[in-house]
């Protein structure tokens, strides 16, 4: 195109220039994309943060040692389910209230009976636990309970629970007079295999001993029957008897920290399975557990108004010839008002001697009430005709007037009946029979013979010669004493003067030395005598030393007990409480 042509075309070109498309609503510009996405992500984060917030709970701890707000975690089976948000003192300043925020789906853990505790390094004879928390800091453990009620307030345990609520097994209660060296976590053995653990213990409210709660693991609890015996297997069992020395212990652990063993003896008592929480007696050792020693005793009081001459403490209580228990105490009670005298007799009955078959054993007292209503009465009976010993006999007397157990006094009172005359008559008859059976004629004959023998001895020749010989001998003795006076005495006085001169020759210094030596020897002999004697100082010293040794042993035990409960005392010292 030439320049002219271009110029000619120009007008046409101008006409050809179109107008742009006009969009009335431009919509959202692309520049808003980033802020909008940022807003969406921010909203998502907020939603995520809000939806992740679970329930808030408060746990009361005895102390906040190691707990830090915003740092300490709550873990269930080592999975973090929450974090401590706040740690503050309770209103009464006696404990610490920890507020924690749990993750969203942990509501189902928060039931009544859920337990919380602080996991920190603990050193026990059975092992060291919580070592990992040395680095990561302490955390709060949780053991969900099985209650139906949901709650958000909990009281933490001071020490971790020995057994989690979901571990299979059963728990039992053992009764004992003393705790021995048992502690939480002490092992329970069955045939020297570890079969359970001691969960805890407490003094019975009536101060009648201690109750020990144990947990027996899954397969082992099936071997606990109603007649199973538990015994304290603490330490070492050293026996010296005719067979020599015998040392037995369940394991090294039980040797150090004590333990409980159980076994089921083979006997008449049937193998009845037991439920969770069944109660048993804890015997002192294996022997007493396997001997038929019945430590499960019940006390009853009996009132007699007749003479109980012949009844002593320790006298047996029997039922149809089977010993059920013994008399524990006898007293005299005088009532001023009606001027009557009553004799209370305390008896103990070993219930284990009576087996009550059947599923529902029932309460012992109600059983006893039933027996009494059927006519069970206590009665004094003559045990030994010669010594006149009495015993308490329990038996059914259906004809006797109706009576009930009286609960007015400290012990339940069993009704009594009199020593019946029939019984006395019967006893007398026995005595007469015995007397009849005796060979009385023979006894009289022998007696007569003895008397005649004595008469013969008196009148015999031998006796007379013996007397004359005796006279002669007396005469000879008289002569001898006279000769002593005449000959021996002058010689003796000579000797004495000799000694006097000898002593005079001894100079003044040598005499005391001898005296001293003599007294020294005397003393030595005396000391020796004292050593041998029971009340000698050496004996006492030895006794004291032994006593101190046992004191020292006890304090070592107290120290280890304390350390076990407060291992941190090694560093911080004993805390003043």
């Amino acid at each position: 195109m030439t320049e002219n042509e271009i110029k000619e075309n120009s007008d046409k070109v101008t006409d050809n220039i179109p107008e742009p498309v006009i969009i009335k609503r431009k919509g959202i510009s692309i520049v808003w994309a980033v802020p909008v996405i940022a807003l969406l992500i921010a909203l998502w984060l907020v939603y995520k943060a809000l939806s992740g917030i679970g329930p808030e709970i408060s746990i009361t701890f005895p102390s906040a040692e190691g707990l830090e707000a915003g740092k300490t975690k709550i873990k269930y089976k080592d999975v973090e389910i929450g974090r401590v948000e706040d740690v503050r003192l309770s209103d009464d300043l006696k404990s610490v209230v920890v507020t924690a925020c749990l993750s969203k789906d942990s509501d189902k853990l928060l039931r009544e009976g859920t337990r919380f505790w602080v996991v920190r390094p603990r050193i026990k004879a059975t092992g060291i636990t919580g070592l990992g928390t040395l680095l990561s800091g302490v955390y709060i453990g949780i053991d969900p309970g099985k209650g139906d009620v949901f709650t958000d307030r909990f009281i933490a345990l001071e020490t971790p629970p020995v057994v989690m609520s979901d571990s299979p097994g059963r728990y039992f209660i053992l009764h004992s007079d003393t705790l021995g060296s048992l502690d939480r976590g002490s092992p329970v053995y069955y045939r020297q295999m570890k079969a359970g653990e001691v969960l805890g213990f407490n003094l019975n409210p009536d101060n009648s001993g201690v109750s020990i709660k144990i947990f027996v693991y899954d397969p082992y609890y099936k071997f606990v029957w109603k007649n199973t015996k538990f015994w304290n297997d603490s330490g070492i069992d050293l026996t010296v008897d005719a067979n020599g020395f015998r040392v037995s212990t369940e394991s090294f652990v039980s040797f150090v920290i004590g333990g409980i063993a159980f076994d089921t003896p083979v006997n008449l008592e049937s193998g009845i399975p037991v439920n969770n929480g069944a109660e048993f007696l804890l015997y002192k050792n294996r022997e007493s557990a396997h001997d038929k020693v019945y430590t499960d005793k019940e006390y009853y009081i009996l009132y007699f108004d007749e003479s109980i001459r012949g009844l002593t403490v320790g006298a047996p209580v029997e039922f149809r010839g089977i010993r059920l228990g013994q008399v524990k105490d006898i007293k005299l009670m005088f009532n001023r008002e009606d001027m009557k005298v009553k004799i209370p007799v305390l008896i103990e009955i070993e219930h284990d001697r009576v087996s009550v078959p059947g599923k529902e054993v029932g309460d012992r007292l109600s059983n006893m009430e039933m027996f009494v209503s059927r006519g069970l009465r206590a009665q004094l009976k003559l045990g030994n005709i010669i010594s006149g010993q009495l015993f308490v006999d329990l038996d059914f007397h259906p004809q006797s007037p109706r009576a009930k157990i009286n609960y007015d006094s400290k012990y339940p009172e069993l009704p009594t009946i009199h020593k019946s005359m029939e019984i006395i008559n019967r006893s007398l008859l026995k005595v007469v029979n015995k007397l009849q059976q005796m060979p009385l004629d023979e006894i009289v004959d022998n007696f007569r013979k003895t008397l005649s023998g004595a008469e013969q001895l008196m009148n015999s020749e031998d006796l007379r010669t013996a007397i004359t010989s005796f006279n002669e001998a007396a005469h000879h003795i008289g002569e001898f004493s006279e000769s002593l006076n005449s000959d021996f005495y002058p010689r003796l006085s000579n000797a004495v003067t000799d000694i006097n001169t000898f002593t005079g020759s001894l100079n003044a210094s040598s005499l005391p030395k001898i005296e001293a030596a003599v007294s020294e020897a005397h003393k030595t002999l005396e000391e020796f005598g004292k050593i041998v004697s029971r009340d000698s100082p050496l004996y006492n010293e030895l006794h004291k030393t032994l006593a101190e040794l046992s004191d020292a042993a006890r304090s070592v035990r107290i120290l280890t007990d304390y350390l076990e409960r407060h291992p941190d005392a090694l560093i911080h010292g004993k805390q003043k409480r």
Partner: protein, 197 residues
């Protein structure tokens, strides 16, 4: 004053038609030719002023604080850049400084100057300034940085406790203010004012 405009992207010529509202798009490639914005100068100046005010707390205060095992760490915009520099990445530090602090600050103050001047019917003395602001537009990356903050929060959420600082909220408002300020600029009308010269 020209009433013809060439498309930026395909060079096609269009007649300029006055529009009340909306955008004029190229017939051929539908690129935006020009827009008409209501109250553009007032809005832009107000928004840039807001942005400048927000810019100060967004940069001075920590926008995140991280707590691990009781140990707390706060970070501001500058500490991140400093940390990059100290870790032997001065190039990256410079890039982040440029895109998150320097360019946005330049854009905000520049726009504030231009629009305040226009508002008071004074013609800004440097038309070059407006050109620079427009062509550095893609280099101001505050909003992307904000996205980065959110992603960091997500990444750290599992291992530590993160507390948003006061700067985070200012930052959030700031990116909205800046975006809105840019969106409200009617560049054609600004250039036309320079034409009057």
């Amino acid at each position: 004053m020209s009433h013809i405009i060439a498309c930026h992207e395909c060079d096609m010529l269009h007649k300029v038609k006055h529009i009340e509202r909306g955008a004029a798009r190229c017939l051929r490639c539908s690129a935006v030719l020009y827009e008409s914005k209501k109250n553009s100068i007032n809005r832009a100046s107000a928004l840039t002023l807001t942005a400048l005010i927000l810019f100060i707390p967004a940069n001075l205060f920590p926008f995140l604080s991280l707590t691990i095992e009781g140990q707390e760490n706060r970070t501001t915009l500058l500490t991140g850049i400093k940390a990059l520099y100290l870790q032997g990445m001065p190039e990256l530090a410079f890039l982040v400084f440029l895109t998150v602090i320097a360019v946005p600050l330049f854009q905000i103050t520049g726009l504030l100057y231009i629009f305040t001047a226009l508002r008071f019917k004074v013609l800004p003395s440097f038309p070059v300034l407006f050109r620079y602001i427009l062509c550095t537009r893609t280099w101001g990356m505050m909003e992307i940085f904000f996205l980065g903050i959110l992603v960091s929060v997500v990444k750290l959420a599992g291992m530590a406790k993160i507390i948003p600082g006061p700067a985070l909220y200012s930052f959030f408002l700031l990116i909205f203010a800046v975006t809105a300020a840019f969106a409200s600029i009617d560049d054609r009308s600004v250039w036309e004012r320079f034409d009057l010269k």
